[in-house]
Amino acid sequence: MRKKRLIYTLLYNKGHFMLSRNFRLQKVGDFKWLKKHYNFEKIAFSIDELIILDVTREGRDIDEFSSVVKEVVKNVFIPVACGGGIRSLNDAKLLLNSGADKIVVNTTLHSNKELINSLVKNYGSQFVVGSVDFQIENDVKKVYIENGELKIDENLEDFLDEVEKLSIGEIYLNSIQKDGTGQGYDIKHLANTFGKLTIPIILAGGAGNHLHLIEGLKINSVDAVATANLFNFLGDALPKARMEILKKELPLANFESISDVFK
């Protein structure tokens, strides 16, 4: 049986890893800080996947970002998806050659469908994760692109219909209002959305503790839950959260610690 996934998302901005709240960024620490508090070499067996996003608002540098990716994923043998500012096939190729198994696209889903088509044609549907950010306005789910700064005309349901037609592999669904709040995912507004999608859904935005992760994983058509909260899952919090999820008999993979087997 296919298992559900617990995903950790890292937000990177010019040398620093960030905390995001409602898409406003706060600097947390550099690579040294990350290594101290999130040693992925050691805690990789408590997550199923790592997503690394370059959220730099101005002057993104894909070469620099790829070298950061290489450094973070060193000796981390789990799937990695990377994104932020991918504007060409070459950008995607660079990330692929730096350890990414999949790429994450957001603005491009709206503004450059041709690029999405060629990514899918060259690397397959499974290579492309579509990240979609939304916000509730007068009870309507509005979609934002450009790091949550630009509202587009379509509402969430229509946009997701359009995105599914691009034959991408997965949807990363993020609530701007819940982002970084630690109050839990926006399950209330998404309840009717989940079942409509025929591709895997990663639920993001709002997880503050393991109960929120469990709440998300309990939804049938949610395939994965993600958290980007650098403060709430420090140290051994991720391994502990996974244990709590497994206790609830939710279908997660069982991993053995790498250091127990390869001494």
Partner: protein, 201 residues
């Protein structure tokens, strides 16, 4: 030990090399015939379209080198993900393409409409007993899959199976020819053990 990762422009080679390095093995990435036919182990990785991959392989004349390596020099080969599929007979992805024809498996799209495609995530593999690849790995261990097309075969020996609505080939081992649909380099401890088993075969 000379480990050659076949480089035809498609695949997460960095992760594979990192995994080998972690296990203490150096490897080279190459599409040169001499590196393939003189290797101790050959790994065929791959992400993407079967058709584009085969076109690249034929253009680079890698198909001939791989066949000489595997059939004449008896060099063990491991195909990973798309690389495994390429070792098969054919695929219906983007029309129809012939594969390298080293394993009697055919690649087609998942047909069960009730499950989500692509098949993404960890899933358990029912592996063959007395397996070379899965030596020391518990039955039904989880490995990471990410694919939209699946391989099926009439063979029963040496086949590892996984289910996503329907059963498909998760792994095969036939003499010196090995394949895994999942990514061992992305499957944590079990994946590393599997790579080690192949390299030390």
């Amino acid at each position: 030990m000379k480990i050659t990762i076949v480089d035809y422009g498609m695949g997460n080679i960095y992760s594979l090399q990192s995994a080998l390095k972690f296990l203490g093995f150096d490897s080279i990435c190459s599409n040169k015939s001499e590196d393939i036919i003189n290797a101790d182990k050959v790994i065929l990785p791959g992400v993407g379209s079967f058709k584009i991959a085969m076109d690249n392989i034929i253009k680079l004349k890698i198909d001939k080198s791989i066949k000489i390596a595997v059939k004449e020099h008896n060099i063990p080969i491991l195909g990973i993900c798309l690389g495994m599929q390429l070792l098969g007979v054919s695929s219906t992805e983007d029309g129809f393409s012939n594969g390298l024809n080293l394993f009697e498996g055919e690649v087609t799209k998942f047909i069960d409409q009730s499950v989500k495609i692509p098949h993404v995530g960890f899933n358990n593999v029912n592996h063959p007993v007395n397996s070379t690849l899965f030596k020391g790995i518990k039955m039904n261990s989880d490995f990471y899959f990410v694919h939209s097309y699946k391989m099926t075969t009439n063979k029963t020996n040496g086949i590892g199976l996984t289910s996503n609505g329907e059963n498909f080939v998760a792994s095969f081992e036939q003499g010196n020819i090995f394949g895994t649909q999942f990514h061992p380099e992305k499957s944590q401890t079990n994946g590393l053990l599997l790579i080690k088993n192949f390299i030390t075969f």
